[in-house]
């Protein structure tokens, strides 16, 4: 049984006098110990999906409209708040995009780290907590941990702060770590170090990771399976190799074609996906990618494609998936 099941999850937000569905019937599973990538551009609903798993949707504007999130078979949205607090930060932990603002500026690092223990393992003595915090900082590769514990967040670099966030998330040895663009705000070398660290930690602890990003390169490096989201819906889901080798959905194909490659002719225009994402208030009734898709046909703007199984473990939401699968669609951009 998968450790986490997202089942037909829809999330709605109240805007000025209107209700907008920002995530529409998203379904995927997470197996224990695996790394699942969720990729898509800003506003596609990937972060909101992650927040809804944690029960952290901004209140009162956001809410789960339909579907379910099950952790070890237990429905999270219907849990009592106290029970949810036992899971949050304990069994499922989360790290965020901005390590600069995710730590409280007026409390010492040590105190913020220790909080996870006092919240979930209140029986531990202060001494034990202190030693565990030291151990955590060592585990995430922070030099001079004793000194760091008594420092404030502004005295640490961005990479260090993200390491502290990771240490905080690891404190109670969670089953699942949700990483919401944890490397986006960091520069490339630090980014590589943090990815390396996450990979090592996963090997040590056996936790599952949901890695949210807009960077396909990061996905390729870290994940075993990928969910591609577009404008609040799932476009495609596949194992990492099939997805990169044989992308089916036109959006995925466009994303992959847009990655600059070393063998490209220098000083030529980069490939892009033409057009813009439809605004969340004016989503088309058919396929949401229709206005940017080079393979669009009449059916696409009339009817939304269902998510279908193209091959085992490979699901796609496109009316023309059979042609893509068979290789009879022309290449992207040609």
């Amino acid at each position: 049984m998968p450790i986490l099941e997202i089942d037909q999850l829809s999330i709605a937000f109240d805007t000025e006098g209107d209700v907008v569905t920002v995530v529409d019937r998203v379904s995927f599973d997470l197996e224990a110990g695996e790394t699942l990538g969720v990729v898509g551009e800003s506003g596609c609903g990937k972060s909101v999906t992650a927040l809804s798993i944690m029960g952290l949707l901004p209140k009162p504007a956001g809410r789960i409209q339909g579907g379910d999130v099950r952790f070890k078979g237990e429905s999270l949205p219907s849990l009592a708040p106290e029970r949810m607090r036992d899971i949050r930060g304990n069994r499922i932990a989360m790290i965020f995009q901005e390590p600069m603002t995710a730590l409280n500026p007026v409390h010492r690092v040590g105190r913020q780290l220790a909080e996870t223990y006092t919240l979930h393992q209140g029986e531990l003595s202060a001494d034990v907590v202190h030693r565990r915090c030291l151990g955590l900082l060592e585990q995430v590769g922070i030099p001079a941990p004793e000194q760091r514990l008594s420092e404030y967040p502004h005295q640490l670099s961005g990479g260090m702060r993200q390491r502290v966030m990771i240490a905080m998330a690891l404190a109670s040895k969670p089953d699942i770590l949700i990483a919401d663009e944890p490397t986006t705000a960091l520069d490339v070398t630090i980014q590589a170090q943090i990815l390396e660290l996450l990979r090592d930690l996963q090997r040590e602890t056996g936790m599952a990771i949901i890695f949210i990003t807009h960077d396909l390169g990061v996905i390729a490096e870290l994940c075993s399976r990928v969910v591609v989201m577009y404008a609040g819906r799932m476009a495609e889901q596949a194992g990492i190799e099939p997805l990169f080798a044989h992308p089916v959905h036109p959006y995925t194909r466009g994303l992959l074609a847009s990655i600059p490659r070393l063998e490209d002719t220098p000083k030529t225009l980069l490939t892009t996906i033409p057009g813009v994402v439809p605004s969340i208030e004016e989503l088309p009734s058919g396929c949401r990618f229709a206005n940017r898709c080079p393979y669009v046909k009449d059916l696409c703007s009339r009817e939304a494609p269902e998510l279908v199984s193209a091959s085992p473990g490979h699901r796609v939401a496109c009316h023309r998936w059979r042609e893509a699968e068979a290789g009879t669609l022309e290449n992207w951009g040609s």
Binding site: M54, L56, P81, R85, D86, I87, R88, G89, N90, A93, M94, F96, E98, T101, A102, L103, N104, P105, V106, H107, R108, E115, T116, L119, H120, Y152, H154, Q155, M165, M168
Partner: protein, 347 residues
Amino acid sequence: MTSYFIRRLLLIIPTFIGVTILVFTLTRLVPGGPIERMLSEAALAGADETATTSYDSQGGSTLSDAQLEDLKAYYGFDKPVVVSYFEWLGKVLVLDLGRSTRYSDPVWNTITDRLPVSIFYGVWALILTYGVCIPLGIYKAIRHKTAFDNLTSALVFAGYAIPNYVVALLLLTIFSANLEWFPLGGFVSDDFDELSGFEKIGDVSIHAVLPLIAYTLGGFAFYTILMKNSLMDNLAAEYVRTAVAKGMDFRRAIFGHAFRNSLIPIATGFGNNISLILTGSFLIETIFNIDGIGLLGFESLVERDYPVVMGILVVSSILFLIGNILSDICVALVDPRVKFGSGDAGQ
């Protein structure tokens, strides 16, 4: 950090000299003064029968020139302003503020006589303001846009919009004159000395209720809304989300994480309250017939009682300068990012 505060303390000296030089010179420049007042008094006394004739304060026929010179020498007006300023400053250094030209009492005693009353109101106004505004601001932030929030906003802004002397008059008319719940004014009752210990406390308290309301009502809006907005900003901050993501309940996230951060803007103005204690409000003191520093300062200005004016200036400017440093200390206490003076790891 210590060196920063030592530097700030040393800076008090030139600032203090600057402020007092300015006011001292002004007292020499503006028309009117103790001598003119005496002349006019003498003219009025001497011209009782011929009260209709106007007198000339400059040409003062009622005093001889020799007497005038004596008076000028007595008040130090015979010397250049710089000389008499430094004479005055030298006396201030040994805590001699001179004598009031109006009461002939030492200025120091005149001020200290009224100090307890002003400190009493100042301290209670301070406690009342922060004691009401911080909890109210917190509650309003949590209950944002509810009926309670809207109603209290309307109330504190009404208090802000009405001038405090109008509030004072309204309170006095309604609760003292008509309903007779509170005394009409004064700091204590006439028979205060005959009351027992508890009765004395009760007497002071019942006299204090209306003036305190008039003092503090206008300030409620500022601190309440500051606290509310500051807390709401922090509740939306990512570190609060981090705290909740750790499994913390919302209440603990507010008081354990957001609260201290939202005190930073409040702490910025805290030290300055020390000078509010002294300045008070002469209008409210006049209305409620309270003999405090505010009233003393106002009267001594009107009566050109310059030693008292300068004496109050000495006390209030020093308190104000110390208050500024206290504010800095308060900010440094709540916000570890603030490091004064040293170049490392600042904001």
